[in-house]
């Protein structure tokens, strides 16, 4: 019992440091994401592990818990003012992506079972229509998309990794919902095309 009572615990990292790094990141210094990630990551990873472990096919767990914990981690115990909600949510989305990708990497040995089934946002279903694509492929494709169009990759992250609704995404990025829908439609088609196994059915071999 006593070992597990740390859910109320302030994070092991000094909260002030997290806040500072967040500020720096919000102020447009993306290099502060790495140290920030290192600070909040261990606990998140532990949670993600616990959540994804032992999941049978019949009980697909939404990453609700991870998202929730991530948020609490970032905001609890330091009065983060949400000065810039877009940055904050985008950060959370990036972190989610990294957690999931990392998790996928660590479980890659179970690739034979179809890889890590990532139960992302409902609308991520199109990914499961792809026989070969797993999270690592998606991650790489997203990196390419980011090179071409950072905004689109940000929208995809928000929608599919953080699970933000279309309305919320529009609100955060201060765009109309129609614009978000259009951007997303294109981004998804682009990713889908990019993830198609070029003729050969995707390598299931380890």
């Amino acid at each position: 019992m006593s070992d597990n009572s740390n859910s109320e615990d302030p994070q092991s990292a000094p909260s002030g440091e997290v806040t500072q790094l967040l500020r720096a990141w919000s102020a447009g210094r993306p290099d502060s994401l790495d140290p920030l990630f290192k600070l909040v990551y261990p606990r998140l990873r532990q949670i993600a592990r616990a959540l994804f472990r032992r999941e049978g096919p019949e009980s697909m767990l939404q990453p609700t818990g991870v998202v929730n914990e991530l948020f609490l981690k970032l905001v609890r115990n330091h009065s983060l003012k949400f000065d810039n909600r877009e940055h904050f949510f985008s950060l959370a989305a990036s972190l989610m992506r990294r957690i999931l990708v990392d998790q996928a990497r660590s479980e890659h040995r179970s690739k034979r079972d179809g890889g890590l089934r990532v139960p992302l946002h409902d609308e991520m279903e199109w990914v499961s229509g792809l026989p070969s694509a797993d999270l690592l492929d998606i991650d790489r494709a997203l990196e390419d998309l980011e090179q071409l169009d950072p905004r689109k990759s940000r929208i995809v992250e928000l929608r599919f990794f953080l699970g933000s609704t279309a309305e919320e995404t529009a609100d955060l990025l201060q765009m109309s919902k129609a614009t978000i829908d259009r951007e997303l439609r294109f981004a998804r088609s682009w990713l889908y095309e990019r993830l198609q196994p070029g003729g050969a059915p995707g390598g299931a071999a380890p």
């Binding site: 597990n4 009572s5 109320e8 949670i47 959540l51 032992r54 999941e55 049978g56 096919p57 019949e58 009980s59 697909m60 767990l61 609700t64 818990g65 998202v67 929730n68 914990e69 948020f71 609490l72 905001v75 609890r76 949400f82 909600r85 690739k111 079972d113 179809g114 089934r117 139960p119 279903e125 199109w126 990914v127 499961s128 229509g129 792809l130 026989p131 070969s132 694509a133 797993d134 492929d137 494709a141 071409l148 953080l162 933000s164 609704t165 309305e167 919320e168 259009r182 294109f186 998804r188 088609s189 095309e193 990019r194 993830l195 198609q196 196994p197 070029g198 050969a200 995707g202 390598g203």
Partner: protein, 837 residues
């Protein structure tokens, strides 16, 4: 290691060089019929590389649509690829046999598992039940043990509106499962919509849900995942709640469990924040169900988990139900959009908002109190969600009502003292070892319930604790006199904690029993409190009767001094508070002060008598005497660790007296002290803190610092709006804001708020109430300022009528003079207008 195929070089080049153009063309032709796309592209784009790339992406979009469609249509059923499917929509049971159960088909899926219709053969008879396969993360190793341990508690859930838990186990593969009674029914929302039930019929169903939840709470079982899909309605219209008791069987370590168990759209903020849960969390869930029953959507529809968590952290409360109404929802409720909105505005909006407060303490204190309010609404009686706040506010300008303490620590202390007192008595009388063990059990069980860290059981709210304590007392105390005393203490604590519904019932019982036993002192004490409840409920006549009876009884020989003093104070205070300013009130309060001192009653009783005496003196314009007493009170509270709120109230009084009759500048630091005191003892959102601001602003206005007053009130206004919603209690705020606007010359704004104030008060107060007069006064002044003298005239007349003759204090007289002056100015303006050509 898999690799997705590298993108073709052509695609890369095209993307890098023509990114924007490709997107524009994609959007341009995507909506066209397949056959027209290529032609259109050829027309608008000369670059073959770009054209090829756009077509490639369009093909991908089509393939993606096909893939998604087949995915959602349940291509997963075949199970051939079950392992690779990311979809949740697996319809077929993952296994056919689970322990002794044969799974037939899926009934539904939720956050902690999927439910299947199951059969079991016992002695050749096939029994049907529902089996839920739980997500492994939801339970730990002791899950089955815990089920057996909890059997006794779960058996208490036998209620016509609750589906029972029958069994728990793990199958050969260690899969945890729960077996429940199988109910044939339709989900609550589907049932209501299919039948096109109107608001009234929906409320009737909702009351059934409340009855079930309330029953479970009385047995200290919380649900924690209340939502429409956990409520079934049978063909006969009987509500059945699913999943009750499940919360008790989940992991004990608390890691994410309360959060994961809940459904974000309906979950309470404390669950989203992974904080301790209590029965108040279910009050929130019920509010969310009611929200959806009435409007057709969940309070936080279209909000993700992240957004919901953010809302919980920032204490954002859902918008009013009136704003969530859509024409479609109205149609399903046998109404039109306008009519439905009208039906929801006011009482129902206040009831739902009270359930959905961010802070658990601001919600209904129990499900019973919520049901009671719904019944009040159904019977067209005023609802508590609105009056609770209205009751505090009677005070406005001329009279101030006592603010309830509401400090849970103090209440717990009372419980502890009551119980230990009774325990000591019993020990002396009986010296029975067994009895003392019982008392210890009661004490420790009460404290365990109060302790959020106590595993396996939710934290009880204070009212919950008191109710349980009250119900359990007879098991522990046998002497009827001792029992009544203990019951009185707990009922008084209930009253102090704001749980008026339960307190009313408890006092009624005590009065009946005391009458039968001839225990006049107990009867007087209970009646004094019962009177106070009637007053707070607005039943003035009933309250006065009870208070007078209590006072008469308390004079009987043998009644304790404390009861006598309390009866005097309560009687006099309420007479004053309801406008009956008689000399006997002063005499009674003076006698109460003297007696509480000479008989060495608790400091609390003395300070109460003094404070009410000072208030009564102020009511008669005797400010100097009132002020002297208030000043005398301050050091008395210094000794009381829980006296900070009381002290703040006294500071508020002193500030107010200075502002209205004495040294106005001296009132500013006093207001500050009062406000900051409330911040410390009750928080920025507390009624006490909020109440100080308008008065403080008024002092600023009168000192010629109206623009500061405007800033202060404009900042506070959103909080008032949020906390007080549609109630009439915003009057002070609106009135003083209008006055500040008047002084800075913003007549139009003053007009706007003055109109709102008058509208809110009309019908709520007696037509000749002085506060109505004040509303007319400020509106008349605003209209005159705008040059609309003709419209100002009737308001000026009304102000004179209501404010001049009834003025009793300096402040009242000053306002009367303002009214007279306004009438004169209006007349002059009208005369000028007639003179003019």
């Amino acid at each position: 290691m898999t690799q997705s195929s590298p993108p073709s070089a052509a695609a890369r080049t095209a993307d890098a060089a023509h990114w924007r153009e490709i997107q524009e063309l994609f959007a341009h032709v995507e909506g066209l019929p397949l056959g027209e796309r290529e032609g259109t592209l050829n027309d608008v784009c000369k670059n073959t590389i770009v054209r090829a790339r756009v077509l490639e992406l369009l093909r991908a979009a089509d393939a993606m649509d096909r893939a998604m469609q087949s995915g959602t249509k349940g291509a997963t059923v075949g199970g051939a690829e079950a392992g690779t499917e990311g979809s949740l929509a697996a319809r077929a049971p993952p296994v056919v046999h689970l322990g002794p159960y044969r799974l037939v088909r899926e009934l539904g899926a939720g956050g902690i598992g999927a439910v299947y219709l199951a059969e079991r053969s016992v002695d050749g008879v096939t029994l049907t039940s529902a089996v839920k396969i739980l997500a492994p993360h939801a339970v730990d190793a002791s899950f089955v043990d815990r089920f057996h341990r909890e059997q006794e508690n779960l058996a208490a859930l036998d209620h016509p509106n609750i589906t029972r838990l029958l069994d728990a186990g793990r199958d050969a593969n260690d899969r945890p499962y729960l077996v429940m009674e199988y109910v044939q029914g339709v989900h609550l929302d589907a049932y209501c919509d299919a039948q096109r039930l109107d608001v009234r019929a929906r409320l009737a169903l909702f009351l059934q849900i409340c009855a079930a939840v309330s029953h479970a709470h009385r047995n200290l079982i919380v649900h924690l995942d209340l939502k429409p899909s956990n409520v079934l309605v049978t063909a006969g219209g009987v509500v059945k709640l699913l999943d009750f008791g499940t919360s008790k069987l989940m992991r004990a370590d608390g890691t994410l469990t309360a959060t994961l168990m809940a459904t974000p759209a309906y979950a309470s903020p404390e669950q989203m924040l992974n904080q301790p849960v209590s029965t108040a969390s279910d009050v929130y869930g019920l509010g969310a169900i009611l929200y959806e029953l009435l409007t057709g959507r969940a309070p936080f529809a279209k909000t993700s988990t992240a957004g919901r968590t953010e809302a919980a952290v920032r204490e954002v409360e859902p918008g009013s139900i009136t704003r969530a109404v859509t024409p479609e929802a109205a149609l399903l409720r046998a109404s039109t959009e306008t009519r439905l909105r009208q039906a929801l505005r006011g009482d129902l909006a206040a009831i739902v908002a009270t359930c959905l407060r961010s802070k658990a303490a601001a919600r209904y204190s129990s499900v019973e109190a919520l049901s009671e309010d719904i019944r009040r609404f159904a019977e067209s009686r005023p609802v508590l969600a609105r009056r609770q706040t209205a009751a505090y506010l009677v005070a406005k300008f001329l009279r101030r009502r006592r603010l309830p303490l509401g400090i849970s620590a103090a209440l717990l202390l009372t419980v502890a003292i009551t119980v230990s007192y009774a325990w000591t008595q019993q020990r002396q009388a009986l010296r029975e070892a067994e009895r003392s063990v019982r008392m210890q059990t009661l004490l420790s069980s009460l404290f365990k319930m109060a302790n959020p860290n106590y595993t396996g059981k939710p934290a009880a709210t204070v009212p919950e604790l008191l109710r349980v304590g009250l119900a359990k007392l007879p098991d522990f105390i046998r002497d009827p006199g001792d029992l009544r005393q203990a019951q009185l203490s707990l009922a008084e604590s209930m009253f102090e904690s704001g749980d008026l519904t339960d307190a009313r019932g408890a006092f009624a019982n005590i009065i009946a029993e005391a009458t039968q036993a001839g225990a006049l002192g107990d009867k007087a004490e209970a009646e004094a409190f019962a009177a106070e409840i009637e007053f707070q409920d607005g039943n003035i006549a009933a309250g006065r009767g009870l208070a007078a009876d209590a006072l008469a009884l308390s004079k009987t020989a043998g009644v304790s001094a404390r009861v006598h003093v309390l009866a005097e104070i309560y009687y006099a205070f309420n007479e004053e508070n309801n406008g009956y300013l008689k000399d006997t009130n002063l005499e009674l309060l003076r006698a109460a002060v003297a007696e509480s001192r000479s008989r060495h009653l608790s400091e609390h009783d003395t300070t109460l008598a003094l404070r009410d005496l000072a208030g009564a003196l102020y009511n008669r314009g005797r400010n100097v005497e009132a002020k002297a007493i208030f000043e005398q009170l301050l050091p008395l509270y210094a000794n009381d660790p829980l006296g900070l709120c009381d002290r703040s109230e006294v500071y508020g009084w002193l500030a107010w007296i200075d502002n209205t009759s004495g040294d106005r500048a001296a009132s500013l630091p006093l207001f500050k002290q009062a406000y900051e005191g409330y911040l410390a003892c009750a928080g920025a959102d507390s009624r006490g803190a909020l109440d100080e601001l308008p008065y403080w602003a008024d002092a600023l206005t009168r000192l010629g610092r109206a623009s500061e007053a405007v800033t202060m009130l404009e900042q506070a206004l959103p909080i008032w709006r949020r906390l007080l919603g549609d109630s009439s209690d915003q009057s002070e705020m609106l009135y003083f804001l209008a006055r500040a606007y008047l002084v800075v010359g913003r007549y139009r704004d003053a007009d706007r708020f003055a109109v709102e104030n008058l509208e809110r008060l009309t019908g709520k107060l007696a037509p000749d109430d002085r506060n109505i007069g004040l509303a007319h006064l400020v509106l008349g002044q605003a209209l005159l300022g705008e040059g609309r003298a003709r419209e100002a005239a009737p308001h000026a007349r009304k102000a004179v009528e209501l404010l001049v003759a009834s003025a009793a204090t300096d402040y009242g007289r000053a306002l009367g003079a303002e009214a007279t002056q306004l009438a004169a100015h209006v007349e002059a303006a009208l005369a000028r207008r007639t003179d003019a050509p």
